[in-house]
């Protein structure tokens, strides 16, 4: 093992740094400038510290790195067990990357209750990172539930007209779905005596868990339901458009950028990791739901008059790709799913920031309220174009790599999945470019828009890093895939074992 004394504590540091910042923030006097500055400082510091992970991460190794495993409670046997592999590594970095940008984008628009806003944002960051770093199921559930409250409050306190409805809907949907996961976790603990992910996985793989075969399908569904609502997979997606439309910009960015990935990450880690056999059995209907999500999400996005709702439905469509990739059980599909998660986090995060930018100026998201903006706000239009193209999946930008890999994987699994999935790319080009055309090209339709200001300094510093990341990820995907690949291989091993067993029986 590595002798670096810093390594065992780095994950704890990254996870709890924002929380510590939030706790200190509670004692700040209500001077908004200081509060914003502090939030930016803490989130930037967290990002810098989190860069330790990819820098010192040993690529090509299977299994978890930077592990820390300390007993927390003796009975029930709960451990403070954290660690990352190539899958969770990048999701942690994605979270720490997006949070400072969220602080920047909220610099001007958030007025009243600034202190509460940034406290919630920082607590949110801790909870999100915790979800990706936990290797103990109790700890995982702990952080999983902990994300609910700050997000619900962010939507409910700082959102738009129907904020309360959206906040409560978001909360209740995810809360009720995740209690099934709790029941499944408790079952696993009762029969394995452990909450440790690695240990439970090994016990299940060796067939040492009593009554497992009878319960496995239910356990699989318990986990799956919690994740499917979070993703959100069709037909559990109805909370998403409401939550997105009503949320403040930073809330939308974290919601789309990171929170939804909790669901797909959970499927990849827990559904595939713990229940390989059930994953194979259930894959067909999950793939069908994912395909419906891709196509349905895209079609609904196309007819949205509201820009933010359009982006929200595009998330449903994109996340469908991720699920499609995961349940194709191919190396390419899983690599692609991981890559789509990251790419979507960045490009959709940026799209929400851009949508927020015009909302701050015009207080509306209606596409029909705009037109010909390219002439008035050229920088804004250019930035928007880069992000839209990234989201559409133009080669050399980040969206392309992931979707290409996913579709190749799906094609390997069953050609029809690949073919149907590929239409999703066409649809996404259609709704995004059409929206872009209506907003930016043509004549200026509303006189009021002529006085619209271009991107401010804060907005540029928040959005341009996303655009740069989109380009870099599109040009040099290997920087990310080098770490993802072995982890995905590792995740696939039990599935391959299952497959060979099935074949052997025949």
């Amino acid at each position: 093992m590595r002798t670096d004394i810093f390594s065992p504590y780095i994950l704890t540091l990254v996870t709890f740094l924002p929380l510590a910042g939030a706790l200190l923030l509670m004692f700040f006097p209500r001077r908004d400038r200081d509060i914003r500055g502090w939030a930016l400082f803490v989130s930037l510091l967290t990002f810098v510290v989190s860069l330790h992970l990819p820098v010192h991460f040993r690529r090509g190794l299977e299994g978890f790195q930077f592990q820390i495993n300390k007993p927390w409670v003796a009975t029930p046997n709960i451990h403070y067990h954290m660690g990352v592999d190539g899958i969770s590594l990048w999701l942690v970095v994605l979270t720490t990357f997006l949070t400072p940008l969220c602080v920047l984008i909220s610099w001007k628009p958030v007025h009243g209750r600034v202190k509460e806003f940034f406290i919630l944002l920082l607590i949110m960051e801790t909870a999100l990172i915790g979800v990706f770093t936990s290797l103990d199921l109790f700890l995982f559930y702990f952080f999983w539930e902990a994300t609910l409250i700050p997000m619900a409050l962010l939507i409910g306190m700082f959102g738009h007209e129907r904020k309360v409805y959206a906040a409560v809907k978001f909360f209740m949907y995810t809360m009720i779905a995740s209690v099934f996961m709790l029941a499944a976790i408790l079952w696993l603990y009762a029969h394995t005596g452990s909450f440790d992910f690695v240990e439970i996985r090994d016990q299940i793989a060796s067939g040492a868990v009593p009554h497992f075969s009878a319960a496995a399908q239910w356990l699989f569904l318990g986990f799956f339901l919690a994740f499917a609502v979070k993703v959100p997979l069709f037909p559990f997606h109805t909370w998403l458009p409401d939550a997105h439309v009503e949320a403040p910009t930073a809330g939308s960015v974290l919601l789309a950028g990171v929170l939804l990935k909790m669901g797909t990450y959970g499927m990849l880690r827990f559904n595939l990791g713990l229940f390989p056999e059930q994953s194979r059995h259930n894959a067909w209907w999950i793939m069908v739901l994912a395909l419906i999500g891709i196509i349905y999400g895209a079609l609904v996005a196309m007819v949205q008059p509201n820009m933010k709702k359009l982006i929200a439905y595009s998330s449903v469509s994109h996340l469908g790709f991720v699920v499609l990739g995961i349940f194709s059980f191919t190396q390419m599909g899983l690599d692609g799913a991981m890559f789509v998660m990251l790419a979507h986090g960045i490009s959709t995060g940026a799209l929400f920031m851009l949508a927020g930018a015009i909302h701050d100026r015009r207080h509306t998201y209606e596409i029909s309220e705009f037109g010909g903006l390219a002439a008035i706000t050229p920088v804004y239009a250019a930035t928007y174009l880069v992000i839209v193209l990234a989201s559409v999946g133009l080669p050399l930008l980040n969206g392309f790599i992931g979707e290409f890999l996913v579709l190749s994987g799906a094609f390997q699994d069953k050609p029809i999945y690949g073919i149907l999935g590929a239409t999703g790319i066409i649809w996404s080009a259609a709704y995004l470019l059409w929206m872009y055309q209506r907003v930016f090209y043509g004549k200026v339709t509303h006189r009021i828009n002529e006085s619209m200001g271009d991107l401010t300094g804060f907005e540029k510093t928040a959005i341009w890093p996303c655009a740069v990341a989109a380009v870099v990820m599109g040009v040099a995907p290997i920087m990310w895939l080098a770490a993802i690949d072995p982890a995905v291989q590792n995740a696939l091993t039990p599935l391959v074992r299952v497959a060979s067993r099935v074949v052997g029986q025949w």
Partner: protein, 505 residues
């Protein structure tokens, strides 16, 4: 002929008195409060009485420490001091202390004379403590009455409010009916087994075929205790009584006597192991969770809402009773403690916010509290999150532990009912949070300065809630040990001195 030796043997040992030391201390302080009350003047005196009562509870906690040093049987095996009873002593006395703290300013605001109030809290605590250590059903009954009667009176303490009087009367009438059930159960149990000592009863029931009468007796006792813990279907009184009673008293009623009644129930269910109890508990748990949560969904009065929530929580707690003994007992103990912390905290906020005459107890009064009093709102939010069962709070861990015990005992369906309920239950707690943070206040609700005593009470509850949520290890260790001890304790010898005495008479 009674010989002197036999008489001497029959007298309690001095160690016996140590085993009721907390009760003795609390009674002395209660009497002290009563004696001083007429001598002190209206203004300053009231406050002094509160301080004396608080000191009484602190000394009581010290006495519990002494008591814990000499575990064993006392008073002819009618009392047993073990980890279990020490735990509940600490719990109920701490509850009393927090209630006294949160009543401190409340009394002045509501213009209530404090004398008997504090004394009754202390006397009630004596009853609760005794309930947790008594092995003798008749003694349990007496202790139950001590605690109940003081809460009947406390419920009516806002004398100028009709609701409070209604609450008191309702509680008294239904409560005495319920205790009668319990007493009837005790009598039937005596008829079935020839003893009223829990240990003896358990021996008799284990060795012989169980007489039908024993089932009836346990059912009757369950009715009586089910009423005290506000478990469905014996929960109807709860909303009305909680609505009318003074808010700090509701805090007390929903935690202290409840915890003590659960302690008795634990002994009755697990030590007197009668088959069939399992299904009774199962049904009561499921019903309490469902009816409590459904009822709470439509409440607009915060006190009523919390009343229904307390029914639901009684349901979660009863889930532990259906689980395997050692696990279930420790889960139930842990749950009582964390429920006490979060619920007392919530009621402390509610009682302060209610203001003179308890004017502001409706949900819409809480609109905009996040702006007008960020401190109170933040406190209430944390306690409500704990009641929902959000991580980092005692409420989460307690629920987690109870359901984990249930799954380990293969109660899959009860667990699913439970987790679903805790999901649905989140809605009504969330409504209060929504009111405080997401709506603007439409009417001017004055929020007075939060007095020091209340801050202290809130700090204690907050500390306990977070401590139990983040570092449950040490408390869990204690509850697990005392649960194991309770389950495996060798049955006490037949209450020797009395038998000898009566034999020689």
């Amino acid at each position: 002929m009674v010989t002197t030796a036999a008489l001497l043997q029959a007298l309690p040992l001095s160690a016996d008195y140590v085993r009721v030391l907390p009760e003795i201390v609390l009674s002395i302080f209660g009497c002290l409060v009563m004696l001083l009350e007429p001598m002190l003047d209206e203004e300053t005196g009231q406050k002094l009485l509160g301080v004396i009562a608080l000191v009484g509870t602190l000394v009581g906690l010290g006495a519990t420490w002494f008591m814990a040093q000499s575990p064993g049987l006392a008073f002819w095996a009618t009392i047993r001091i073990d980890g279990f009873s020490v735990f509940f002593h600490v719990l109920v006395i701490a509850i009393a202390a927090v209630v006294i703290l949160s009543s401190y300013e409340y009394m002045a605001v509501q213009k209530i004379r404090a004398g008997e109030y504090y004394a009754l809290i202390l006397f009630g605590t004596v009853g609760m403590g005794l309930m947790s250590s008594a092995l003798e059903l008749v003694l349990i009954f007496i202790a139950l009455e001590i605690s109940s009667i003081s809460s009947y009176v406390l419920a009516g303490f806002r004398r100028n409010s009709a609701a409070s009087s209604e609450s008191s009367l309702k509680y008294f009438l239904l409560g005495s009916f319920a205790t009668a059930f319990f007493l009837y159960g005790v009598a039937l149990m005596f008829g079935a087994t020839g003893s009223t000592n829990i240990d003896r009863i358990s021996v008799v029931l284990q060795s012989n075929t169980i007489p039908l009468l024993a089932y009836v007796a346990v059912a009757f006792m369950f009715v009586g205790l089910g009423f005290k813990v506000a478990a469905a279907p014996f929960h109807i009184w709860t909303p009305d009584v909680y609505e009318g009673a003074p808010a700090p008293v509701v805090g007390l009623m929903s935690t202290g006597p409840k915890a003590a009644a659960f302690a008795v129930l634990l002994r009755v269910v697990f030590v007197v192991a009668v088959p069939g109890v399992f299904w009774m508990v199962w049904v009561a748990a499921a019903l309490s969770m469902i009816l409590g949560n459904l009822g709470a969904l439509v409440q607009n009065n915060v006190k009523r809402l919390l009343a229904y929530s307390s029914i639901a929580h009684a349901g979660y707690l009863l889930v532990a009773f259906a689980a395997a003994p050692a696990l279930g007992i420790s889960a139930a103990m842990f749950y009582s403690a964390s429920y006490a912390a979060m619920n007392l905290g919530a009621f402390a906020v509610v009682s302060h916010f209610a203001n003179a005459g308890e004017r502001y107890v409706m949900l819409e009064d809480y609109e905009g509290l996040g702006r007008s009093s960020p401190f109170l709102a933040a406190m209430l939010t944390i306690f409500l999150l704990s009641l929902i069962g959000i991580p980092m709070t005692g409420g989460f861990f307690a629920k987690f532990y109870v359901f984990s015990a249930a799954v380990k005992s293969n109660l899959i369906w009860l667990t699913i009912i439970g987790v679903l309920n805790s999901g649905v239950g989140a809605y009504y707690y969330l409504r209060i949070i929504v009111m405080m943070y997401m709506r603007e206040s439409r009417k001017a609700v004055p929020v007075t300065h939060v007095p020091f005593a209340l801050r202290l009470a809130l700090a204690a509850c907050l500390f306990a809630t977070l401590y139990l949520g983040l570092f449950p290890g040490s408390v869990l260790h204690f509850t697990q040990q005392s649960a194991a001890e309770l389950v495996s304790t060798p049955v006490a010898p037949a209450s020797a001195p009395i038998a000898k005495l009566s034999g020689s008479l």
